[in-house]
């Protein structure tokens, strides 16, 4: 029923429209064309299936549009199908707009037959008419409309051709609601039709459903669980189920197949009959362009190299182009931090804003360009139709770990950053595949871990740094494969769906839809990651800031004074020595031609003096700096974060780690590259260390860390709990804390186990000690 609004007196109304159809039928293009940018993306309640809604106005009426997930049927096998079916059955939509790929009519109409049986007011949209024409198909839309009992509107979603007519038809069907515009029935073979009639009578007589009664009867013949449950709960329900059993037995006996398969076949029979009456196929001079393109892109020999090239380009574009605005954002953040520090008095609040909020959120903000570029490229791959080919090419590989070929993309992207990679798992259709891919993705060594490898490997394996770093990547891949196999045989067992993959025709993506897709996903990233990161970085800030007063054994103030004093004395010494030498030299100077002050010997002496003085002052700076950083390290040890590190020290001691590693790993939870800057602080080099920094390297070496412990530390860094942003992404994409906590626990456990293995077995054989 149309929702009555204040305007209804003026005959202006609100209608709700559901857009439904197969995947790849151009449903989203039509939805976008109808609603423009007036969209809202959210989730369907209880499931991580995207729900997109929007609205448009047409002849003074408001149409609220919901873009249902693309499905091939209403069998309710998958989360998407369940969502679509519930939405349509529950009478939430006034009109269903069924989008059909006109170039792939027969299979698309299979879904339509079910929509017709649902008994909803229906508008059928023949999309991609241009491609159908290219394919040599002539469709008699009037006859098709008569046969299906619903208006049929030919459109070309990409160009907007036929959209006005569509809006007009939707309006008309919406307004006819009160008069119950009746659809035709899908006719079945006589034997089936008889059984449907028997059930139909019973269903109507006992009034067991608020749904369309013929739909319910057919669903009973299909032994549909949901329908059976609904019928059973009514009085006389069991009588109806008994009749259903008799009917099913009868048709199964006649057709030698299961009820569901018989009905599905019969639907195709109806479609074939209808198409014979309204489609003329003229195959002369038609070229299947997609097939031509695929002769190259999925070619036996060229397919893999070309795919590799595309992956390389995707990486290159994401991280190289992304690094340009990344630097700007970085510079902007520094400027922001400096100007805020300048504006506010020093103190807790300033530190919270500058170090906690801006520092923490900024660490994520710098990834925004990468993420938007990546989402843009993924949108290109998806909209063009290449993504399906990726699945086709890589399925053999991914099948080994119980995954769908498409899962390869998020896995590769994980080398860049796990956050967009995990969000990229949305390209997978089954929830089980998504969860499995999400769980193993953090083992793909992201770029934030690289600085840690470079630093530690550079300090302890200067000769073989590249080999050590490379083996970390290999270990990560092995951990992902191993865990994938383990999960698919244990916790995610048997939920896998058969691999039935449509390879849709290639299409040139429209810029408008690319931008929309990129923005939708990017916006979710900003929204969700932003809040979690904000909270997380404030927590880490609190741990590092409190207690504000700490007691340190060393008296840094007087040590600093001693250092300064020492240098001052040396400077005075130097000055007096210089004076003496000059006096002596002056006495021996006899030339009348040039003043002594301009003589070469004086200038020589002065130059020597200045060099020595500069050397002295830089020595002093270094000494004071080092002292200040040692103090910082000592202070950190006393802060809560240091104490937390100390608490965990006994736990990580079997791995050979000290409280320093413990602190570094804890801070690395915010973002793994922070491990490096934490070491910078702990070894008194300052926060702005780069990987090659000598201070940290010598600090690490002199801290008593052996190469073996360093290796064990690298293994731990690679595998342990992904960073905060990744955890947030996992929570978002799996939708449950259970999987999120499992992921944290599992990766911690695996990291500990393997790092311990390295330390233990290495120690046993005295390797690298």
């Amino acid at each position: 029923m149309p929702k009555k609004s204040l305007w209804s007196a003026l005959n202006k109304m609100n209608f709700s429209i559901a857009v439904a159809g197969n995947p790849n039928c151009g449903k989203t293009t039509i939805f976008n064309a109808l609603t423009g940018a007036r969209q809202h993306v959210g989730n369907w309640p209880g499931v991580t299936v995207e729900k997109k809604s929007g609205h448009y106005n047409y002849s003074d009426n408001r149409f609220n549009v919901v873009d249902l997930p693309g499905t091939y049927s209403l069998a309710a096998f998958s989360a998407e199908e369940t969502v679509v079916r519930q939405y349509l059955e529950n009478d939430e939509a006034d009109v269903v707009v069924n989008i059909i790929d006109a170039s792939n009519l027969e299979r698309n109409l299979f879904f339509t037959t079910q929509l017709i049986e649902l008994g909803k007011p229906l508008v059928i949209v023949l999309n991609m008419m241009d491609m159908a024409r290219e394919k040599g198909l002539q469709i008699d839309t009037d006859t098709l409309a008569t046969l299906l009992g619903a208006p049929v509107v030919p459109v070309v979603g990409r160009t907007g051709e036929g959209l006005d007519l569509l809006k007009e038809k939707i309006l008309r069907v919406s307004k006819e609601i009160s008069s119950k515009a009746r659809l035709i029935d899908i006719s079945y073979p006589r034997d089936i039709e008889q059984e449907i009639e028997k059930l139909h009578e019973l269903v109507q007589k006992n009034d067991v459903t608020d749904k369309h009664s013929r739909w319910t009867s057919i669903k009973l013949l299909e032994s549909d669980k949901q329908t059976r449950d609904e019928v059973r709960s009514h009085t006389n329900g069991t009588d109806i189920l008994d009749q259903a059993k008799i009917s099913i037995d009868r048709i199964e006996g006649i057709f030698k197949d299961t009820g569901r398969a018989i009905i599905s076949h019969a639907r195709y029979g109806f479609i074939q009959g209808a198409l014979r009456e309204c489609v003329v196929e003229d195959l002369a001079d038609t070229v299947d362009y997609s097939r031509q393109i695929d002769r190259v892109l999925t070619n036996r020999w060229l397919g893999l190299p070309i795919f590799g090239l595309f992956m390389w380009l995707m990486f290159k574009l994401t991280y190289d182009i992304g690094s340009i605005p990344m630097d700007w954002i970085d510079a902007g953040l520094v400027y922001l931090m400096n100007s805020i520090s300048g504006l506010m008095p020093d103190g807790m609040f300033a530190s919270l804003i500058v170090d906690g909020v801006i520092g923490g959120v900024g660490a994520i903000a710098v990834f925004l360009p990468n993420i938007f570029i990546l989402f843009f490229i993924i949108a290109v791959l998806e909209d063009s139709g290449y993504m399906a080919r990726v699945a086709f090419i890589m399925d053999r590989v991914m099948h080994n770990i119980g995954l769908h070929g498409k899962a390869f993309i998020p896995m590769i992207m994980g080398f860049g950053c796990n956050v967009p990679a995990i969000m990229g798992t949305r390209i997978l259709e089954s929830r089980r595949d998504r969860i499995l891919t999400v769980l193993i993705n953090p083992f793909m060594s992201c770029s934030a871990r690289l600085p840690v490898y470079v630093l530690v490997a550079g300090a302890f394996f200067p000769e073989n740094a590249a080999t050590v770093i490379f083996s970390m990547y290999v270990l990560g891949i092995l951990a992902a494969i191993g865990s994938g196999k383990l999960f698919s045989q244990t916790i995610l067992k048997g939920m896998s769906k058969p691999f039935v993959l449509e390879l849709p025709p290639y299409q040139r993506p429209t810029l408008r839809s690319l931008i929309l897709h990129t923005w939708e996903r990017g916006y979710l990233f900003i929204q969700k990651m932003g809040t979690v990161i904000l909270v997380g970085s404030v927590i880490i800030w609190v741990l590092g800031y409190f207690p504000t007063e700490v007691e340190i054994d060393r008296d840094y103030v007087s040590e600093r004074a001693t250092v300064t004093q020492g240098y001052d004395t040396q400077l005075v010494d130097l000055e007096s020595k210089f004076k003496l030498s000059v006096d002596k030299d002056h006495r021996e100077y006899h030339s009348e031609m040039i003043d002594y002050e301009s003589s070469s010997s004086f200038l020589e002496l002065q130059k020597q003096f200045e060099e020595l003085r500069d050397e002295l002052s830089s020595e002093q700076t270094v000494a004071l700096y080092s002292l200040r950083q040692q103090e910082f390290g000592d202070i950190t040890e006393q802060k809560w974060i240091g104490r937390v590190g100390k608490i965990f020290e006994p736990i990580v001691r079997p791995l050979g780690f000290t409280w320093r590693e413990s602190v570094a790993l804890i801070t690395g939870f915010v973002a793994k590259e922070i491990v490096v800057s934490t070491y910078g602080v702990l070894f008194g080099v300052g926060e702005n260390v780069d990987e090659g920094s000598h201070g940290v390297i010598s600090g690490l070496r002199s801290s008593g860390m052996t190469p073996l412990v360093a290796l064990s530390f690298l293994v731990f860094t690679l595998l342990y709990t992904p960073c905060l942003a990744t955890v947030a992404a996992i929570k978002r994409e799996t939708g449950t804390w259970a999987y999120t906590l499992f992921s944290i626990g599992y990766s911690l456990g695996l990291a500990y186990l393997l790092a311990f293995g390295v330390a233990y077995f290495g120690g046993m054989f005295n390797w690298l000690s």
Binding site: R107, S264, F499
Partner: protein, 93 residues
């Protein structure tokens, strides 16, 4: 329209010697005789248009030999070899 020649059977494929979809070479065409496998698998294939008596042709194999690209009802879709083996076909010209 409903010319089901084969008797009903649990696996829906009676003859081990039947030619299977996976036996067809790229470029070859077949007519589907019967679909085996689990009920859910069969229904999924049927809803994708892999119906009894439908014509199906093998377009190509993926670079790593699996899966297979097929053409049925005028569109392209892909199945794994192991699944294609559950589909009995007869070769047609």
């Amino acid at each position: 329209m409903f010319n089901f020649k084969r008797p009903r059977h649990k696996l829906h494929i009676t003859d081990e010697n039947d030619l299977r979809l996976s036996d067809l070479k790229p470029g070859e065409k077949g007519r589907i005789i019967e679909i085996g496998g689990s009920e859910n698998f069969r229904l999924r294939l049927i809803e994708m248009g892999i119906t009894r008596d439908a014509e199906i042709s093998v377009d190509k194999y993926a670079p790593l030999r699996d899966p297979i690209e097929l053409i049925v009802k005028g569109y392209h879709l892909s199945l794994r070899g192991a699944d294609a083996q559950k589909i009995a076909v007869e070769r047609i010209k």
